[in-house]
Symmetry: D2
Subunit: 295 residues, 4 copies
């Protein structure tokens, strides 16, 4: 599987009245990403509040997404389960419904050591032919995987073939690039480090931003590809405060708020998560206006 | 509710063949704690692998524990859910089955801010009359709550009445003691800091250690109460390496291994968690022998 | 050398007009410590602003202190030099003037590895027969030494014979105690952890607090020795906010401010260090009044 | 003063026999930097072991450097003193000998607050007309200054006009750029982040690397300027392991070792600093060979 560019992440809309997933609103989320010309769509990542869904809800969102995208771009399904057994169940399900790839992170209660992590990934790989993106995000998942360890998994586990790095430490990307001699594709998962990640050799950028700012992330990716540094830098700094804002406010809450500002209410995030405060919502509105988004 | 002394934590035995909860073995776990003269029993904490159980398993373990203890000591049920809705369900269930108290920690994917945390605890308190022990353990739960904030919750949320502090920072206990003028009971959740916590005014010690070393934790508690410092220090340093070992090896894996060493196999922890390595198991055996436990 | 109890630290008074060391005021500082019945006096530690003195000033303060104490209690001289050569010079000087012990910490610009640290201490030990207290204070010195490493130095370097631990991590003290089987004396260097350090087996407490609160630190030490836990706890919590305050405000600035409040102005600390703000000074005044000190 | 490009840092050679500064060898160090076409030369930074020199040595090295450079490029003199008084003395001296700029970092024993830092910089600025580069390097200096605070100093302190950022956190550079609307020049002080820093808008790169790898840092700077991303990335990754190696080994020890490998022994660093181990020296030799330097 040859993936590069912008991987657009969807959110999971809830109905404010009964708190249930609002599938009628999931359609425009996916359409917004396709309109933004993303190179792939990823459902059920952090932004999709996957950790807060029931198994059934998770399955329905995954299935709905695959159907709605309908082959126009590849679909990646996020898996971040506490038990290996449940991660396997979900990996199998993703394959059954026709997803193109799974993104697997080791959500944890007890810290996991490398042997535990390796067997977790290996067991998932053995359960499905889908390619696996190894996703490192210690801030949400509670486990940090070194570049060396992730590259060992790419080398030794059949379907593990790419890495998403979200620590925000650019040195991790240097290590992945150097140690793999530029051969193992890695993606940026830290929005406000996108410029540097792409310059350091990232194959692409995993981001929920296209939900709100359309093609602008794509333009940034293209500028770097075209070696147009001045334009890349200009585009990045235009988006910078917005990108930092959504990271620091919590992706799900911030993007849902942004949709609401833009006229398509998506409900709040699931409790205990709260929507943005009125002040934060006003800040976001200003940032979107500055970016020329229809806020 | 007036709780003090040793709160003994149970593990959740699994059947190695099918991976299911092994209720036949849960009985001796509870009996071991009662034999160790603990002042209360807590089920479904970290040591109980609560995070790795299905809802049904969690309910059955809770119910089984209350029945087996049968009023001989109070029963505390741990709740560490990602959504407020599910935490409420479990709090109601704990009340229905006759538990005496719930211990609530804010397990998290996205970091929670204080407003989110407050509403989470308040909603649970509104759903059940059970007293609530606020449990702070950022290493497993991903959220850190300050002494100031936890005391505010004790003050402003009806059923919140005590604190379990597990950061391992003795200053947190000083703060709780000083800011509450010694009025808000707090418990030690960091095994290898038990001596200091008790000297700093902790009402008791939440620990899985009695599963393996019987009354020795109780003896330590008593020595501090009796102002027998030399004995308290001697007892603490005798247990110290064992306590540090089980914390660093992961409580569930270590205690299950210890039961196996002592002749009552309890199965391994649930994957991705792995049992102790052979080397670690040998270390634990030596530590138990040194402590005079029947290893 | 058999040292235990309270090691009282002196400050270095400056003349506010010309910024020079004010020897007339150094006398009452030392006398205050002696009146507080400290078991030893240490000059030129953090509280003594040793890092901010010229070589000549450092020598004069050391010499003055030894003369003024005049054998009534042992005198410890602090050495925290960037180069090994200068540390040796100062160690020799301390010996020449009749000091009883040196306290050596590895002040650093580049981080030092264990081989560098070992040779630094060894070279100093070879240059003087004075016993050496190894002082670990990464917050000011920029290097952290593990209990294991410090114990290796005590074992392998002739004059290295005791440890002062100032990280504020009680586990370090447990390690020192356990690994040395209680044989290597260690001192508490973290004021607001004094109760726990003494209960964990510390031989004593290194503190500038007697400058302002007289015998109260001694009373706390005695209460622990006499196994009077309730009194020890009461005394500790009485002093707690004061101890935390002077640590967080910077020992030198806080204690100088306290002397001023008590009617013996000692000048401000040396720039860039600033005296306490008016607000902080008022806080300190209140804390001293609560402690019954003549504020 | 309009500075950009490569600011080359010199080391301070010592005579291995008597440990004194070896001025005969300082000449080739400076010449090597000039041959590497650096845009400015900085003496007495971290690499120059300024913290380990006596006042007299420091003055002589500063004076020698200015004379040897003789106006061919601007000369920057590093100042990292513990007291404001001594920092002022050195700033005046730098002006007297004809240096073009001073680079000031707040070396600390006690942590300094922003008021203390501000007054420190302001006092230095009042003492000399030389432009000041504010240098933030918490790893060696023990104090961390935020982008917001440094920009405030640039705005409010007469001679403070540029920033050198060495935390290794690319977000600091984004902040400086955005908050100053690209108006305040900042330099990269973290060698193995040079590519990203330049892409993020840094005016240049402060580095000791040209001592060993000649014009290669300049080529990297030029490639970014020319928007030749592929070449910039290729050059950066060629140098990457070397850059990371010298940072992690300690700049002074590593560069002195490199000079020795290249046939111009410069003595070891001053104790307690030690030269590279034999193994590390072999690694460095290999890295230099791979870079085509005459190793």
């Amino acid at each position: 599987m040859n993936l590069s560019g912008i991987i657009g992440y969807s959110i999971t809309p809830f109905n404010d009245e009964d708190g249930q997933v609002d599938y009628e609103n999931l359609a425009p989320v996916i359409d917004t990403l396709l309109d933004a010309q993303v190179d792939a769509i990823a459902a059920l990542g952090s932004a999709g509040e996957a950790a807060y869904l029931t198994t059934t809800e998770w399955q329905q969102v995954a299935e709905y997404t695959v159907k709605r995208v309908d082959g126009r771009v590849p679909v990646v399904i996020g898996i971040a389960e506490l038990t290996t057994a449940e991660a396997i169940n979900r990996a199998k399900f993703a394959y059954q419904i026709g997803a193109d790839m799974i993104m697997v992170s080791p959500f944890s209660y007890y810290k996991l050591n490398e042997e535990e992590l390796f067997l977790h990934y290996q067991s998932i790989s053995n359960a499905t032919p889908l390619p696996i993106m190894i996703y490192n995000n210690p801030a949400t998942c509670g486990v940090d995987m070194s570049p060396q360890f992730m590259l060992r998994m790419v080398s030794d586990i059949k379907n593990a073939c790419m890495i998403k790095e979200s620590t925000g430490d650019i040195q991790r990307m240097h290590k992945i690039y150097k140690l793999s001699k530029g051969k193992v594709p890695f993606f940026n998962g830290c929005n406000h480090m996108a410029l540097e990640a792409l310059n350091a050799g990232a194959s692409g950028w995993c981001t929920v931003a296209p939900c709100l700012i359309g093609k602008q992330t794509k333009y940034l990716f293209d500028a770097v590809q075209q070696q147009n540094n001045h334009k890349a830098s200009e585009l990045f700094y235009q988006q910078y405060e917005f990108l930092e804002f959504i990271v620091q406010s919590g992706l799900a809450a911030a993007v849902k708020s942004g949709f609401s500002i833009q006229g398509t209410p998506m409900g709040g995030p699931r409790k205990p998560l709260l929507p943005l405060t009125a002040t934060a919502q006003q800040q976001l509105k200003t940032l979107l206006l500055e970016l020329g988004s229809h806020a």
